[in-house]
């Protein structure tokens, strides 16, 4: 038995958000590939924009799934999204230029099977479960890949496991000073996992508004991007990292201002909410 609680209908339909999120994430991740063509690192910040786009899509997916009252809390959805997504992303990085596409397909397969497992073997019987877990695995994979592209300037396995430092004029290859070897992937994992689950967790309830939640997601995404931009100083040139940082700060200030305005807009109006619904809406 699961009851769907749609407190407020309307807004942009989920399919539209999904397609827009998927396309813009992939395009942004591929735009970081301009680094390789132009032999600079100036385009790394597109990785951060990919993260924001993916998170907006993902948080709406969480909204779709969690309005069925799964009973485990919203954060668990973010955790399984990134748990399954990171696994797919790590394998996909081996495919060079094709990595984002491979990550997409692989994460979708993993998410599909996990969705089947939870819906049928664990008897959750929630209509949106399989599709939601599939989407969230893809979001998780593309978000971590976006962070990787932003911090290191690329998304290939070699690029993520090595870095070149100059010692006494000789270039030396370091494995410990890399996105994977240095454990930065764990930070990227949690930056994304918290940013994806927080918006719906914070905005759910009878006063839920789609635009406010998605604006909060963008705000969380840019906030994560600021941290990632600071970390990227260790891997890419200072100029490129500075561009990322400036883009992130401008994006964060704008989205935070917008979110604040929307919160004031929604708080000024009062909603004739019904008595507490029979099922919890988290």
């Amino acid at each position: 038995m699961s009851v769907k609680i749609e407190v407020i209908a309307g807004g942009v339909p989920h399919d539209k958000i999904m397609i827009a999120g998927l396309v813009s994430t992939l395009v942004c991740i591929y735009l970081t590939y301009l680094n390789a063509f132009t032999n600079t690192q100036m385009f790394s910040f597109f990785g951060g924009l990919a993260v924001v786009a993916a998170l907006i899509w993902g948080s709406h997916t969480i909204k779709v799934l969690c309005s069925y009252g799964i009973g485990t809390g919203v954060p668990s959805a973010g955790m399984i999204a990134f748990g399954s997504g990171t696994i797919a992303m790590l394998l996909a990085t081996k495919y060079g230029m094709l990595a984002p596409i491979v990550a997409l397909v692989l994460a979708a397969v993993i998410g599909l099977i996990l969705g089947y497992v939870s819906n049928n073997i664990l008897n959750m019987k929630i209509p949106a479960m399989i599709q939601a877990l599939t989407e969230m695995a893809v979001v998780g994979a593309l978000t971590v890949m976006g962070f990787a592209a932003m911090i290191t300037g690329g998304f290939t396995f070699t690029g993520l496991t090595t870095s070149t430092a100059t010692f006494l004029g000789f270039p030396i290859t370091s494995y410990a000073n890399s996105f994977l070897g240095g454990g930065l992937i764990a930070v990227a994992f949690l930056l994304g996992a918290i940013a994806i689950q927080h918006p719906f967790n914070a905005c759910l309830g009878p006063g839920w508004k789609q635009d406010r939640m998605l604006m909060l997601t963008a705000e969380c995404g840019f906030l994560s991007m600021i941290v990632a931009a600071v970390m990227s100083f260790a891997f890419i040139s200072a100029g490129a990292a500075l561009i990322s940082l400036i883009v992130a700060i401008i994006g964060w200030l704008y989205t935070y201002g917008q979110f604040f305005a929307m919160s004031k807009r929604d708080a000024a109006a009062w909603l004739d909410s019904k008595p507490i619904p029979d099922t919890e809406g988290h």
Binding site: M1, S2, V3, Y68, G69, I70, G71, T72, G73, P75, S76, A77, M79, I80, F82, G83, S84, T86, I87, A88, L90, L91, K94, L106, I110, I113, L114, Y116, V117, S118, N120, I121, L122, N123, M124, K125, T158, T161, T162, T173, Y175, A176, S178, L180, G181, G182, G183, I185, A186, F189, I276, P277, D278, T279, E280, H282
Partner: protein, 277 residues
């Protein structure tokens, strides 16, 4: 039906067809792994599956109360399964990873002790907060007498609640759960670390010492990711809250075993493919 009592009731029944599909899927993944990497890969995958099943089974013991527990209206620790299992399991994983050079047995036991210790401290402090902070006694809502101490529960249970606080049996359950989950997480880490240590030098054409940070990091990341996947699947199995091993929901564990085995096999297979192809 009050809003608090109205947790979604996912069916407690087994779904035999889906279970059969799950077992077939597991065999297919094992076969595929045997095909791509018969020795090292298969050993690692079996370690991963055993670890995943331990996590899935262990999480059933942990008294998860969720939001109702925070309001003193249900027994258990006042947070979700994902957070608790992550706390206990990762504490165990760190302990186990530290002991990894001492061999699989020592490391696994260390991981289990780390997880159990973390849960013991958590349960202890939770009860301090409940008793001295919120002023509520520990009482189970699911059983009349504590199965271990035999203490009567019903007199201490407030009307309109499902029990509150953390009864002794839940405390013991939490520690057992922490031990199993910590050992499971460590097993996954060790299985993958052994595989990566053996294969990364050829894959990346570097020396053993050079690739060690990458092997540790990738194995650790996979262990964390699989840990979270298994913990959340178990959370779905118990639909959010459970009191401990005496809770009727505990009887659902066979479903979680199959689900964890399939999920771990799938994730483990992908982790092995990194070095196998």
């Amino acid at each position: 039906m009050s809003a608090v009592a109205a947790k979604p009731q996912a069916g407690g029944a087994m779904n035999p067809t889906a279970m059969a599909v799950g077992v077939v899927l597991l065999i297919i993944i094992l076969g595929a792994c045997y095909y791509v990497s018969p020795n090292l890969g298969l050993t690692a995958l079996i370690g991963v599956i055993v670890g995943g099943v331990l996590i899935g089974f262990g999480t059933h013991f942990v008294p998860v109360g969720g939001a109702p527990a925070a309001m003193g209206q249900a027994p258990g620790i006042a947070t979700g399964v994902a957070m608790l299992a992550a706390g206990a399991g990762l504490a165990g994983l760190f302990g186990g990873a530290w002991a990894a050079p001492l061999g699989t047995t020592v490391a696994t036991i260390t991981g289990g002790i780390g997880g159990g210790l973390m849960m013991a401290i958590t349960c202890m402090m939770v009860n301090f907060v409940y008793v001295y902070g919120m002023g509520i006694p520990a009482a189970s809502g699911k059983v009349l007498h504590d199965p271990i101490t035999g203490d009567s529960q019903a007199e201490f249970k407030s009307q309109g609640t499902e029990g509150h606080g953390l009864p002794f049996v839940s405390f013991v359950g939490g520690v057992i759960g922490g031990i199993l989950a910590g050992a499971g997480g460590t097993l996954i880490y060790l299985a993958l670390l052994d595989l990566y240590k053996a294969t990364f030098p050829t894959l990346m054409s570097a020396t053993h010492a050079q690739v060690l940070p990458v092997a540790v990091s990738v194995a650790g990341m996979f262990a964390v990711a699989m840990f979270l996947v298994n913990a959340v699947l178990t959370a779905y199995n118990i639909t959010g809250t459970i009191e401990g091993p005496h809770d009727p929901k505990f009887k659902r564990w066979p479903r979680a075993i199959v689900a964890s085995a399939v999920a771990s096999a799938l994730c483990g297979f992908v982790a092995i493919l990194i070095v196998a192809i």
